[in-house]
């Protein structure tokens, strides 16, 4: 029995066995198409469709949105999502494709939308039938997120939106977007408002989605152009001018520091048959055992051994920090560990992939389409892709500012 199982309430224990029973019979099996390392790299519609079917099945089985109220399509429980996540991960199921919807849009809608909008949007968001994307970044608003130029103008009961969003992951599949934009040009922070916007139904009618190509050659993110898109006022979240406050709810959840647990599945090997998990130190050790260095295996090289164990210690630290963060008596400041979450996990994955591709030595030069690329070329790819997340969701330099200012109380760097 695991540590978390031991502290299950009777109701939670029953839910856990329900999840286990369902997963034992309903694992979707091997995907018929190639599934990339993460949902944000999805570009093949068949892969997306297969993953959406998986999310729908898991939703129908009660494992997604468990902690949301029944009226908005949830399970009406408390403290159940974490259990479902553990069981899905243990069963090595595929990841869930509506990652931005569940991780960012859902909690924001839940805390800030009017009741009928919650009931309208959340069921299909949680089931994965509607894919969501996030319209925050702009050409002139990256780390300086409040410098929004996309403008929403009030027109009776509607808003007319014009502007340009960039780095918009999943927009090419998205039905809906969470949108931060400007409604008042005279006030940087209090001049922002927050909307939910149906973009797929408006394609060619005020919305244009164009792919941006990542440094890896993969698509997956986009730019989104708005030209006189009209949306009803009921799709505004919270007050006009309260957009920054609403965006903080989104960002807290995006950075793993929000009150609602994001549904998460995973553990299934991706990208064909390689069986490589690019976030696992165990995979790195296996890799080191199968590559030569200085006349021995790389796993026998003292310098690499030191680097590998260092990574293992960091991985253990992340887990133990999360555990300690839940014990109020053992933390000096309630946000001290939650605000580290995004920073440390993205840098860990980056450094892990960096050590791993070096272990491959000369063969790490081979691109993933080369038949001789070790591990299907996954490690160099993971290393390149890791920069997506050390930059996104507030570059890690911004995260360090936030920690320095909010937790250590240092003066603001602006």
């Amino acid at each position: 029995m695991s540590e978390s199982e031991r502290k299950d309430s009777p109701e939670q224990a029953q839910f856990r066995s329900q999840c286990q029973a369902w997963l034992a019979n309903n694992h979707p099996g091997k995907p018929p198409v190639t599934i990339p390392q993460g949902a944000l790299e999805l570009s093949d519609p068949d892969a997306m469709q297969w993953l959406q079917q998986w999310q729908k099945a898991a939703y129908d089985a009660g494992m997604i949105g468990c902690d949301y109220p029944v009226e908005v399509g949830g399970g009406g429980k408390e403290g159940h999502q974490g259990i479902a996540n553990q069981e899905m991960q243990r069963a090595k199921t595929p990841y869930l494709p509506n990652i931005i919807g569940m991780g960012m849009a859902a909690p924001t809608i839940f805390f800030h939308a009017q009741e009928d909008v919650k009931a309208e949007l959340l069921p299909k968001l949680l089931s994965g039938e509607h894919i969501w994307c996030q319209g925050f970044s702009e050409p002139g608003a990256g780390s300086d997120l409040a410098n929004q130029q996309t403008f929403a103008e009030k027109d009776g009961d509607n808003w007319i939106i014009n502007g340009h969003k960039v780095w918009t992951s999943l927009a090419h599949f998205a039905d809906w977007m969470i949108l931060l934009c400007r409604t008042d040009k005279s006030d940087k922070y209090n001049g922002l408002s927050y909307f939910v916007v149906p973009i797929k139904s408006a394609l060619g009618k005020g919305v244009k989605v164009q792919p941006l190509i990542k440094m890896t050659g993969q698509t997956g993110f986009n730019e989104v152009l708005f030209e006189n898109l009209v949306i009803p006022d009921r799709y505004r979240l919270d007050a006009v001018g309260a957009g920054w406050k609403v965006a903080m709810t989104t960002l807290a959840h995006e950075r793993g520091a929000g009150p609602l647990v994001t549904p998460a599945s995973g553990g299934m090997a991706t990208e064909g048959e390689t069986g490589v998990s690019v976030s696992s130190v165990g995979s790195l050790i296996d890799l080191a055992r199968s590559h030569q260095r200085l006349g021995k295996t790389a796993a026998d090289d003292p310098v690499l051994r030191d680097e590998i164990i260092k990574l293992m210690i960091r991985r253990e630290s992340i887990q133990q920090n999360n555990r300690r963060s839940a014990v109020a008596e053992l933390t000096d400041h309630p946000m001290r560990i939650p605000l580290q979450s995004k920073l440390v996990s993205t840098e860990f994955n980056q450094d892990l992939a960096e050590v791993a591709y070096r272990v491959e030595g000369a063969a790490s030069t081979l691109n993933r389409n080369d038949p001789n690329a070790p591990a299907g070329g996954q490690w160099p790819l993971a290393y390149m892709n890791s920069f997506g997340v050390t930059i996104a969701a507030g570059a890690n330099e911004v995260q360090r500012n936030i920690l320095g200012e909010r937790v250590l109380g240092l003066p603001k760097s602006k």
């Binding site: 029995m1 695991s2 540590e3 031991r6 502290k7 050790i285 021995k296 295996t297 796993a299 026998d300 090289d301 003292p302 051994r305 030191d306 590998i308 164990i309 260092k310 293992m312 210690i313 960091r314 253990e316 630290s317 133990q320 920090n321 555990r323 300690r324 839940a326 014990v327 008596e329 053992l330 000096d332 001290r336 560990i337 580290q340 920073l343 440390v344 330099e397 360090r400 500012n401 920690l403 320095g404 200012e405 937790v407 250590l408 109380g409 240092l410 003066p411 603001k412 760097s413």
Partner: protein, 380 residues
Amino acid sequence: MAEQPKNFGFGEDEVMLRDSARKFLSDHCSSDTLHRMVASDFNLDRPNDCVWDQALWQQIVDLGWTAVCVPEAAGGIGMPAVAAIALAEEVGRTAFPSPLIATLSATFVLNACDSAAATDALTAIAGGKATALALTNAEGEWDSAATDVRVDADGRLEGLAAFVQDARKCAQFIVSARSDAGVGLYLVSAAADGLTLTPDSVIDLTRDQARLTFKQVDAIELAAPGTGSAAIDAALPGLLSLVAADMVGAGEWLLQTTVEYAKTRVQFDRPLGFFQAVKHPLVNVMLQIDNAKSLTYHAACAIDHEPAEALRLARMAKSEASDMAVFSSSRAVQFHGGIGFTWECYVHLFFKRQMHSQVLYGDAKYQRALLADLIMGKAA
């Protein structure tokens, strides 16, 4: 797999002990008091002082801190290992000069010995008898089988033990000694005939350290020949965790002190902490302290709940804490600027304590080399 409690074993009693220790030590050992006590003299040729507040030690004994991990059957309180670790963190936070960490370390070793003599020694510790470990040879090898002391057929000790921590503050020593049957553990009074204590001149002003030479010294056997190394190894997770916790506490003092300085010291019309060249490394210090702290609690909790995992977890904690000790102390001196380089500034007291702690029982890379052997198997 064995299980750990979610709260690392920090129940109400352990939290209360930690909070009262924090208050007691901040009341009685402010940095100002400490500096006046141990750093009043900066002459390198000064005698090897061993300055500490013995009246305060008696209060600590009365508070029961030496008894926390002594079993109830031996007259102690019988708290879990995290209680000792919580105390060590508070000792580090004030760089408090005392034989407490030495004595808590001795407790872990005695708890791993199975003899009436060990139980008696534990009872004495619960009553406040300061005790140090003399387990290290002249080469400073952190190996439970390495000792330069021999025990003869009559049970008398001959040889030397080096790098004995807080030796002059302690009334007795636990000594590892070899005979043909292997390493055993022995209890020796500081006043024993034939025992000579030669103080080391150490950089860390908050500790003392000494070399013990034994000439036909009478000793009480705690662990029979051939069982001593196993007892030391069993205690090692505790010893590593105590030093790691000390470094965590000292690291937090260095961080908070440097943050305060960065808020108030103005250059280029701005407080230093405005500049990201200062702010971001301070955040990195915080990240590393949190890692070391969580790993240390995890290791300490394993001593009681997952003993088979404890050594692996304690080496992880010691590794991370040692790296953190170097980084937290180097950033503290650097960001204090010119004043940070002076004797007058309190930072060097903690800087030197971190220098000392990081090498005790092996530095970070030493721990990782052993972890690699443990986890990946020995290198070819």
